[in-house]
């Protein structure tokens, strides 16, 4: 029998509440009854395992998925997936989707009056390596309007979906860009109470990731839950 360490509970303010009145859609789509605390059994401490064969090398380059090159500012988005102890989360799936440079999604429900780009789908995926590194090449997405409140605009963002190694580490988040004036006005970004935690969703310009004559680099490290010090006997 081996001992498994349950995952740590998030610190107060580090994660958004379900009900966040400034984000109008949460009103009808959030639990109103108290959550039941679930101790971590094998059901929570295991999770789906995806092999590297699930993704193709080209899946991480969103600028080469069509015959021509997409319009917009080519960027590299890269970083590490870590746990709270700074240990790499190895060989884990990272899924990504985003709007094009004009702020339009390649999705039937997006009716924003901005052009689609026949050379840009806006979908990518990759696996982290042995050190938890991942790397995407894409186009800097545009801001776009939404109907949450009058004159509402989402700051430019890229959606990320991660699994980690357990059901308990599943995370869907959004990556933002440094210096965006829309962040201060955005109810989704500001749904996270703790300011330092919010800032962890903002990527950093990184000259080392930047490729000369090719693309600016933005670093976005993603931290998944780590394990508690006290083990649980299986």
């Amino acid at each position: 029998m081996s001992a498994l360490h349950p995952y740590r509970r998030p610190a107060p303010g580090e994660q958004p509440d379900y009900l966040s009145p400034a984000y109008a859609s949460t009103a009808k789509r959030s639990p109103s009854q108290p959550l039941i605390v679930l101790p971590h059994s094998l059901s929570e401490m295991t999770g789906p395992v995806f092999g590297h064969e699930r993704v193709k090398p080209g899946d991480a380059d969103l600028t080469r998925q069509h015959t021509g090159e997409p319009l917009g500012e080519r960027i590299i988005v890269a970083g590490r997936v870590l746990d709270e102890d700074g240990k790499p989360v190895r060989h884990t799936l990272v899924e990504l989707w985003q709007a094009n440079a004009a702020g339009r999604y390649q999705h039937k429900n997006d009716q924003h009056d901005a052009p689609l780009d026949a050379n840009f789908t806006g979908t990518g995926r990759t696996m982290t390596d042995e050190q938890g590194n991942y790397r995407f090449i894409t186009i800097r997405p545009g801001a776009y309007p939404w109907r949450n409140h009058p004159n509402a605009w989402r700051p430019a963002h890229i959606h990320f979906s991660l699994f980690g190694h357990a059901f308990a580490t599943r995370l869907v988040t959004q990556m933002y860009f440094p210096g965006d004036p829309l962040l201060a006005l955005d109810p989704i970004y500001n749904s996270v109470p703790d300011e330092k935690a919010r800032q962890r969703m903002i990527s950093q310009f990184d000259l080392h990731l930047t490729e000369p004559e090719h693309a600016l680099g933005f670093r976005f490290d993603i931290v998944l839950r780590g394990r508690d010090a006290t083990p649980m006997e299986q």
Partner: protein
């Protein structure tokens, strides 16, 4: 502050999947979890995802995670000497349809131990994602024929809310179970967990 305080990074906050989740997630849709060679009792779980007003949510994604029929998870941390089924990962994902419907075809999972070593009643773990959900809503599916009284997780749930976790057999359709997700609305609202 102590100098030997261990490094502790904060977690990256969760954000909503937004309305265009299909773009990034549909490639991994998996609604048939168990091929013909996989052992176990074949079941279909079908239901609807509804908001606090009982309006269907056509823009959600449901993910499930389960053990095989022997109660073994296809994961390196499950070290128990129980057989695995080749090709059965235990993972399912589906977007909800126009009327909030979802449907998985799988096998009934076996029992897995709770934190105290006792066996839990068979269950499937569920994550719900949607526009308006800033983090996933976590719940479980249990089965109508099992003994839930001794299940340590059920024991934490108020008695009058437990039925929201138990799928119901559909009359005249053997193996088909109905299980709905009511996201808010207090009356019969699904039980959600803090994982």
């Amino acid at each position: 502050m102590s100098i030997d305080k261990p490094l502790r990074l904060g977690t990256t906050p969760s954000q909503t999947v937004g309305p265009y989740l299909h773009m990034g997630l549909d490639w991994l849709n998996t609604t048939e979890l168990a091929g013909p060679a996989v052992a176990g009792e074949r079941i279909v779980i079908q239901g609807r995802l509804l908001d606090a007003d009982r309006a269907p949510m056509p823009d959600g994604v449901i993910e499930i995670w389960q053990a095989n029929s022997q109660g073994r998870y296809a994961h390196p941390d499950d070290h128990r000497a129980l057989p695995l089924d080749t090709g059965f990962t235990g993972f399912g994902r589906t977007p909800t349809c126009a009327h909030g419907e979802f449907r998985f075809s799988t096998i009934k999972p076996g029992r897995v131990p709770a934190t105290n070593g006792q066996l839990q009643a068979p269950h499937i773990m569920v994550n719900v994602f949607a526009r308006g959900l800033l983090r996933q809503a976590v719940t479980r599916i249990y089965f109508p024929e099992d003994d839930h009284a001794s299940d340590p997780v059920m024991a934490r749930v108020p008695v009058n809310r437990r039925m929201t976790l138990i799928a119901q057999a559909v009359a005249g359709q053997p193996g088909v179970l109905e299980w709905n997700v009511l996201l808010g609305g207090e009356q019969n609202e699904t039980v959600f967990f803090d994982v």
